[in-house]
């Protein structure tokens, strides 16, 4: 065990730092600072994918800094896992996002590479570079945590699948070029065994996207309706009825590194809470001092736990510890941020540039609901890490 990275890894960090100093656009830093607020002005939904973000993602890719662990043709530089961790930490320390739409590089790219045929693997670079924007069609009105209960039907008719059904909470659907869509191809099989994955062009006739505003009133996800949508059979990813394997595979892919920005956000937030307490003259209140110190303790120990799990090569199930802990911690921290404002905690017009705590608090529920709720994470820890028997 040691605190310092090797000289080689420090050189890697220095090279990254120099690259970021030179290339990171000011808008990225600005965006990163307000990430937790979803939008900085709190008014109309911000432009979902501004030009600077497209250019920035492509720049990262072209310099081998998009997914450093990949080879150059996939936007990387064959970095080691340790270097990937250093990479994520450095971005998080600077509040710089890689991309404003994570499904493409984080879920779709790896899934295509792992499960796709040669032609499909050829779609991966564009997904990772952000040239094509993807959304993920998993959740449905009757299939959330119980994803395997999904009902959107796909019926094969020669060399096309005909899709009917509905997805919901689909992030980025409004701007997506394609959807990685989970469909039921065998309604008679046990529910995990009749699912397939289709890659659907979002401009195919029969698709209707209806935006739904988030709880904050700002950004959006969408309902997506499919009515007799014809999808070429060549756009089937993996084998028919073998889609469940892809769900678990694709969700595991990027979860490994998600804790880095998540916990970094928790650490920054403690600093901000100290600032708020001081600004409001509460920094001599022993209760508030202890409360904020406890939040620091949790964030600092999670940062250590992430690194420790990483060193142990912790598997997918162990990441549930991190996902559960940082999303819940962040929610708690933002709630404290509101509370520190006393009677102003519910006032929604902030000074320009003020972090808007109520908005952060509201937005933080995305973390404890999306990608497997906190309760589901606890189930996973209990059953897959601690080995307790499944419930009835």
């Amino acid at each position: 065990m040691k605190l310092a990275w090797s000289a080689e890894d420090e050189a890697f960090r220095a090279e990254l730092a120099a690259f970021l100093d030179q290339h990171a656009p000011p808008e990225a830093v600005e965006y990163g600072r307000h990430l937790a607020d979803e939008s900085s002005d709190g008014g109309a939904p911000p432009e979902l994918l501004p030009d600077w973000a497209r250019v920035w993602q492509a720049t990262l890719f072209d310099h081998g800094w998009m997914v450093p662990g990949y080879p150059p043709e996939l936007g990387g530089r064959n970095a080691t896992p340790t270097q990937t961790l250093i990479y994520l930490s450095e971005l998080a320390a600077r509040d710089v996002p890689r991309s404003l739409h994570f499904p493409g590089y984080a879920i779709v790219g790896p899934s295509l590479l792992e499960f796709g045929n040669e032609e499909q693997r050829g779609l991966a670079p564009a997904a990772i570079r952000g040239d094509a924007v993807w959304c993920i069609g998993m959740s449905e009105p009757n299939a959330g945590s119980d994803l395997a209960g999904l009902q959107t039907r796909a019926v094969q008719d020669g060399d096309t699948f005909v899709v009917n059904g509905q997805k919901v909470w689909t992030s980025y659907a409004m701007i997506a070029d394609r959807c990685m869509c989970y469909v039921r191809t065998d309604p008679d099989a046990p529910k995990h065994k009749g699912i397939s994955v289709l890659m659907i062009e979002m401009d195919t006739p029969g698709i209707e996207v209806r935006p739904l505003r988030h709880i904050t009133g700002a950004a959006e996800f969408a309902e997506v309706f499919f009515t007799d949508v014809a999808v070429p059979a060549a756009h089937l990813l993996g084998d028919v009825n073998d889609g469940w394997r892809i769900t678990t595979g694709s969700l595991a892919h990027e979860r490994g590194g998600l804790w880095v920005p998540g916990v970094a956000r928790c650490r920054h937030t403690v600093d901000e809470l100290v600032g708020v307490a001081k600004a409001r003259g509460l920094d001599a209140d022993p209760g508030i001092r202890r409360e904020i110190a406890a939040l620091y303790e949790e964030a600092a120990s999670l940062w250590a736990l992430g690194h420790k799990g990483f060193a142990a090569g912790a598997g997918g199930a162990e990441h549930s510890y991190m996902k559960l802990a940082y999303s819940e911690l962040l929610k708690h921290q933002f709630e404290v941020g509101m509370t520190l404002h006393g009677p102003d905690g519910a006032v929604t017009s902030g000074e320009p540039g003020d972090p808007v705590w109520w908005r952060r608090f509201f937005a933080s529920f995305a973390g404890t609901i999306a990608g497997g709720t906190s309760e589901i994470q606890r189930n996973i820890i209990a059953q897959r890490v601690l080995g307790l028997p499944r419930g009835a």
């Binding site: 904020i292 120990s301 690194h307 420790k308 510890y321």
Partner: protein, 322 residues
Amino acid sequence: MDFALTDDQQLLSDTARSLFTNEYPLSVVRAHADDPSAADPLWKHLTEWVALGDGPLVDLCLFLEEAGAVLAPGPFFATAALYRPVVAALGREPAATGTVAVAGESGEWVASADRVRRFVVEADAVEEVVVVVPGGAIITGPLPARPVETLDSTRRLFELDVPMGEHAALPLDPDALTGCLERATVALSAELVGTARRILDMTVEYAKERVQFDRPIGSFQAVQHKLADMALDVERATAAVYYAAMAFDAGDADRHRAAHVAKAAAGRAARRAAKDGIQIHGGIGYTWEHDLHLFMRRAYASEFLMGSSDWHHERLAGLLFD
């Protein structure tokens, strides 16, 4: 920040585990509660390890984590974690066993000039006592010690009257003293994490075996979620402890904060594990017979020793705010 154990560290951890599980059965821990000398024969297994107190803190923590998992009684913690670093800072050769008297009347673990010293660990079982005073320390032989009854018979605490005028104090830089105490706090946290992890393991095991309503109680979600939260706290605290230990070994500026984080995280994890552990054991957990209460006693006693979680949060706040 690299948490991977070196081969030597892995070996140390494995050696400690087999030493403590083989030589420190709970039967002896129980016998020690009635007659402390019952544990004396065990001491010979540990004498060669007290020098861990002079080396990297990570190594000492690996060792103490295993000691905490069996509630090992005796003067090891006092000698290795508390006494030897202070004696080294004073530039003296250590005796075979020793302890340090820090807390005065207030009970806080900060240098005091008080005659009365409280919470002195294993004071009647050691050859030397170091009494910390502002700006220095006094080294003496054994002092008359009054046992303090606490929750936990596995770690014996004493109150001393220090004959202040009779001994000259050796100078000790306050920062050096703080460093020694913080290191010892991290070491105690490592031991506490060992105790918490043992409670977790015992409870997970029990939840898999105990059947009610025709199924293992570990299949009930109310039980599963308690255990998941307990496990998260234990993992978090373990990471905090070894991060702090690495920070001390590297002389990193973050080490002061890290020490407070480690103790607070370990204390909270141990409390949660003990509380929910007993609850999940049901009636059997409420019995004297069952070993679990021994672990709960140690967990709470260690939480209160060398500063509770609240106390460390206050101190930490001082570093964050002031």
